[in-house]
Amino acid sequence: MATTVIPFGPQHPVLPEPVHLTLKVEDEIVKEAIPALGYVHRGLEKLADIRDYHQMIQVCERVCGICSMIHAVCYSQGIEELMEVEVPKRAEMLRVIWSELHRSHSHLLWLGLFADAFGFESLFMQFWKVRERIMDINEATTGSRVIVSVNVIGGVRADLSPDQIRWILSEIDIVEKEVRALQDTIMNDYTVKARTVGVGVLSKEDAYLLGAAGPTLRGSGVAQDMRMLGYGGYAELDFEPVVETSGDCWARSTVRFRETLQSIDLVRQAIAKLPEGELAAKVKGNPPEGEVYTRVEQPRGECVYYIKGNGTKHLDRLRIRTPTFANIPPLLAMLPGCELADVPVIVLSIDPCISCTER
C-alpha cells in the first residue's frame, strides 16, 4: 500500500490556534503523526529577566487566556512559597471561586468546540450560550470576562460583596440546570457516540507513562488531580477526581462534562466556607535565593511552574510546563491506527491550547 503524506494544519477548522501535524496515511488509516510547533512561540519565560516578579503575574496570565486565573495562582503560590508569605484564608477561597469559574467556562467552551468538530452546530451554540453566564460573572466581579487579573503576590485584589455572592449563586443554579439539560445529548446521543466511542483510545498504562495530564489522563482511568494536593483553599473542600475508564474521545468529553458540574459544586462549597478577613498579605522585598516547584490543576490538566530566585526583583529562571505540552506525546500515540476523518476529533479531544504549549 502506498503511503500518502497529508498535512494537518497549521490552519484547520477545528484548530483555534496554529499547529501542524504531518500525517502518513495508508488507505485513509493514519500510520504516523509528526508534530511541528513554533508558529506562535512568544518566549514569555525570558521576560522574567526584564520584568520584576510582581509584573510577571500579568505575563503568566497571558500564557493562556482561558486558564489565565489558574496560571496566576500557580505563579503567585510559587513566589509566596519562595518568600514564605502566608496568604489570608479569604484570599485562598476567593482564588478557588474564580479558578473554578474559569474551569467551568473553559470546559463549556471546549464542549461547544467538540460538538462543532463532529458537526453538531446547535449543540455547539447551546454550550456557548450557557458559558456566557460564567463570563458575565467574571465581568461583573472583576471587570474582565477572560483575563480577570485579580491575583497579587500575597492574595487577591478584588472581593465579593454579599449581593454579588447571592447573584453568583443564583446564576450558577441556572448554569447547572442548563448544563444538565444538555447531558443526554453530549453523553448518549447516537450520532455523538458514533463519532467518539472507541475513537482515539489511550490505555491507562500509556496515559500514565506518556505523561498525560488532566481529563486526558483521567479519561483513561487514572485518578490524578492536582487539586488533591490541597493547595489554596482546596484542602477544605470535598471532592473526588472525575474518572472514566474507556480512554476514548467519549471518555474525555464525559470527564469534562462532569467536571463542569463539579466546578459549580466547588464554587458553592467555597462560597459557603468563605471566611471573613484580609484580601492580601503585605509583601516586602524581593524573592530570596532559592528554587520552588509548584503545580496546580488547570482545565486541561496539571500545570507546573519552576521558579528560581536570586535575591533581586528579577527571577533567575521561570519555567512553565503547561498541560497541552504534556498531552502532545499521548496524542502522537493515539493517532496511529485511526481513520483520517477521526483526526480532527482526536486532536480536539485533548483540548489543545497552542499558546499554552508554546508560551
Partner: protein, 122 residues
C-alpha cells in the same frame, strides 16, 4: 525545594531515570536553569501518587547529554525544547528536530542564554 532531590551525572542519568520508571514514577517534565556562564542545571521532575522526586544534572553547555526519550517517550518534546532554547545536544533523541522545534533555521541567537550565538541552519 521541599521535595527530594537526587544528584545524577551524565553517566548515571539514564540509569536513574530507568530506575524511576521501574519504580512506577511518571515523568512530568524537565526544568533547565543557568548555573554559570557555561554551566547548566537540569532538573528531571517525576511524580507518583502526587509525591514528587527530582533528579538534578549539572553539565557544561557544550557537552552533549544522553537522551532519556528511549526510556520515557514523552521526554522527546522537552529535550527538543531545551535544544532550541539552551543550545544543548541530546544523544539518542527518538525524534530530533535539530534546533527547529520552535526556532526558524535562520535564527542565530540562543534564546535563553545571553550573548551566545549559533550558526544558522543550512
Amino acid at each position: 525545594m521541599k521535595d527530594k532531590v537526587i544528584n545524577v551525572t551524565r553517566d548515571t542519568v539514564v540509569g536513574e531515570v530507568m530506575k524511576m520508571k521501574n519504580d512506577g514514577y511518571r515523568l512530568v517534565t524537565f526544568s533547565t536553569y543557568q548555573v554559570d556562564e557555561d554551566g547548566l542545571g537540569i532538573l528531571y521532575h517525576f511524580d507518583k501518587n502526587l509525591e514528587t522526586i527530582h533528579l538534578r544534572l549539572t553539565v557544561k553547555r557544550k557537552d552533549s547529554i544522553p537522551s532519556v526519550s528511549g526510556v520515557y517517550f514523552a521526554a522527546l518534546l522537552v529535550e527538543n525544547e531545551i535544544r532550541d532554547q539552551w543550545d544543548v545536544k541530546f544523544d539518542g533523541l527518538v525524534l530530533d528536530f535539530n534546533r527547529t522545534l520552535y526556532l526558524d533555521p535562520e535564527v542565530t541567537q540562543v534564546p535563553l542564554v545571553s550573548n551566545v550565538k549559533i550558526a544558522p541552519k543550512q
